[in-house]
Symmetry: C2
């Protein structure tokens, strides 16, 4: 069997699990080698401080010279995260003919096109199963299993922190702040939860999913992004009453744009935002910090992939799966399928997001109100799908009796049209307030 | 781009979809070729009667000479089903250096070892994503994504017909016979539903899943098989009351055997039988004719793959995904990972199945009964996990008042011990009848 030299960059929660699995003489590295048909050998672990011993890692493997290390490897496993020096190290690895396994979603979402092109030019592989939804096999299914199909849409719960927070709000009636505190206590959220709750992490994954699903490079800048800070306990409770749940979804979909002459063209779009989802939808039952990716394909129909989206061991499983594949590729001189788009569809601008909406209004409980509200929607060309009206509990408790809640769900509408509509609604005498505006996904 | 000649064997519901996707000059074959990096060309379609025209298939491609056709192809797509002539045609294809895509679960479950060995010897590929759970990518994830992990157990709802039948019984209170009739009306069940309801189809898939998950050849004969004919409307209703659902599961798991000297050894086991599953389990929410496969891995934790398990278009999606991969392999002279076991663990005999059980008893409602029942379990070394006792509704309606229902859930027990226990229970004076015995899966 050929010898495949592996360089590990980073030895944190995932890296230390990978290092342990590759420990010289271990049963696991023997098993992985048998599966790869090549002798896998860990030749170095790049860390910031090589003087601190790491449990389960031979001290002699530790080095601070990441640049030197990548030049003496056949496969580089990059788990340091961030844009630099990760990007430069990967480019250097490709230059030296090494393949790369990475879990670095931020890097791929920012520089995916450059990195995939560099790997292709060097005739080596860039694999990244760990970058989206941790242990859940989703990259390989999109890249290979569905290669004979046409993916129409991908909906993903790809951020465990926000899913945990929303689930706490749903199942325990917690406020947003309390749910975030609890997520922090349990280690699901960082002290500064911005990257998660504002949707940055999910947006990077949306870019990667869109790139793969549509054979078209999509970057973080292309992704429309809204976080969950605006989701109130009241929104979640109202959703619950209506048989729905609020989830933060990463959405990648084919859509139709219009050029300056009004002609339609096919494009793709990626976005991250909270949505109302019917409890009948398979994604609605994804609880706690779990992840799931729902794929709608022309041939296969609806598919869902479910599992743990984070954590050292699960993520290491994805990294090691890629490593076995790349070691096998080194052995037989082959490469995985190209990621970079032969399709290269236009990526539609983020101001052109079209979804269905639920608008919750507090209105005067008197005849004619519905007509006025309906007129405001019609004036902006926003078509109404359903209206539910019921006496407001809050109003009844306050004893004013004359207030009702009106919940309007629209057909697909553009952001701008909906915004104009909401502005007009708040001007209406009969409307006390626009209590919330939420996007809606799933079958109507 | 290299030219890859494709021979299609069979032109039924799946084959006709594949033929349409590969029609010369079509947009789809152009797209598939772009993804494969090779020019995919359909060179013939073997059918029983070449004189009947097939919609969307060039008449000149039709042939009854399957044997001749496989010798002039680079990739053979086998969709005729059954053991012969499929087996001989595949062996001939390998002899001539062709790779094979098949959806033939019966053939793989019976002759998988021979066929994989023949493919390996010829240095070509045998791919079979369509053989288990139709469009759901499960073969590639097990074979490649989880190559760096240790799969402990696979639980699959892999037969849509029986899942539809059990779901009808659960959601509409239908009897087994009525549910089967409805499945037949809707085209989910054959006129002779034996292969589905007696678990043959699921057992073939269990053998394939076990082979992949444990790198160990497992055949249909190795699979313990029980169908769903014995599941009554009363069982399903009682499960519902207890917050559970009855599902037919294909189970492949690592387990421990004992040799003649009493020493423990690691082995694998595959089985198909109805189980009681808590409604909290992700598989419990798989409705209608959908399929799902739940994987428990040491590193990745719990994963689930969900989607359509049958149908012409979904299954064709799986076939075409494999075809694109194999065309790419032809182009670069590579092969996928081997299926045949480097592990080759012992396959434990089917009489050594150990599961938890739910035993539902109709008993006299008087003191001392529980002690007598508990003693019967203890006498056979079967440990009790929970007991629920409640007045029987049927008894109350009949006015006899003195009858109660006792539901006993055991810890893991061997088939033989449980059978002995049930025999003793039915001899007890206090036991009117053993109403049902069902295996239990999922966390206790």
């Amino acid at each position: 069997m050929e010898r495949v030299r592996v360089a590990l960059l980073g030895c944190g929660s995932v890296g230390s699990q990978v290092a342990a699995a590759l420990a010289a003489g271990s049963e696991s590295v023997h098993e992985l080698s048998a599966r790869a048909g090549a002798t896998i050998e860990l030749v170095g672990v790049a860390v910031r401080d090589a003087s601190t011993p790491r449990e389960g890692v031979d001290d002699e493997l530790l080095t601070t010279d990441a640049e030197g290390l990548v030049t003496r490897a056949d496969v580089v496993v990059e788990l340091i995260g961030g844009l630099e020096p990760a990007r430069s190290l990967l480019l250097k690895a490709f230059e030296h003919g090494a393949s790369v396994v990475t879990g670095n979603k931020a890097l791929l979402a920012a520089h995916g096109r450059e990195l995939h092109a560099a790997a292709d030019a060097a005739g080596v592989d860039l694999y990244f199963e760990a970058a989206v939804a941790g242990a859940i096999p989703i990259i390989r299914p999109l890249r290979e299993s569905l290669a004979g199909d046409r993916v129409e849409r991908v909906l993903g719960i790809v951020n465990g922190t926000t899913n945990f927070v929303l689930d706490e709000m749903d199942s325990r009636g917690a406020s947003f702040d309390d749910a975030v505190s609890r997520a922090q206590e349990l280690g699901y959220a960082e002290a500064d939860p911005t990257a998660d709750v504002d949707g940055w992490d999910a947006a990077a994954k949306a870019a990667i999913l869109a790139t793969l699903a549509f054979h078209t490079p999509v970057t973080l800048d292309d992704v429309h992004r809204e976080g969950i800070r605006g989701v109130s306990a009241e929104d979640v409770a109202a959703a619950r009453e209506a048989g729905a749940v609020v989830k933060l979804l990463a959405v990648a979909e084919r859509t139709t744009g219009q050029d300056d002459d009004g002609a339609a063209f096919e494009g793709v779009q990626a976005r991250v935002h909270p949505v109302l989802l019917s409890r009948d939808h398979p994604l609605a039952s994804v609880r706690g910090a779990y992840n799931a990716v729902f794929v709608e394909a022309a041939g296969a129909g609806d598919l869902m992939f479910y599992g743990q989206g984070a954590g050292g061991r699960p993520t290491a499983s994805a990294v090691l799966g890629d490593l076995v594949t790349l070691a096998r590729h080194r052995q037989d001189g082959s490469q995985g399928p190209r990621v970079l788009g032969h399709a290269d569809l236009p990526v539609l601008p983020t101001d052109a997001v079209r979804t269905r909406y639920q608008v919750r209004l507090v209105v005067a409980d008197r005849p004619g109100v519905l007509a006025a509200v309906a007129q405001a929607f019609a004036a902006h060309g926003v078509s109404i799908e359903t209206v539910r009206q019921r006496p407001s509990v809050a109003g009844a408790l306050a004893g004013d009796g004359g207030v009702a809640s009106l919940v309007v769900v629209t057909h697909t509408a553009a952001d701008a049209a909906l915004a104009g509509c909401v502005a007009d609604l708040s001007e209406l005498d009969a409307v006390a307030s626009v209590a919330s505006v939420l996007r809606v996904e799933g079958d109507s």
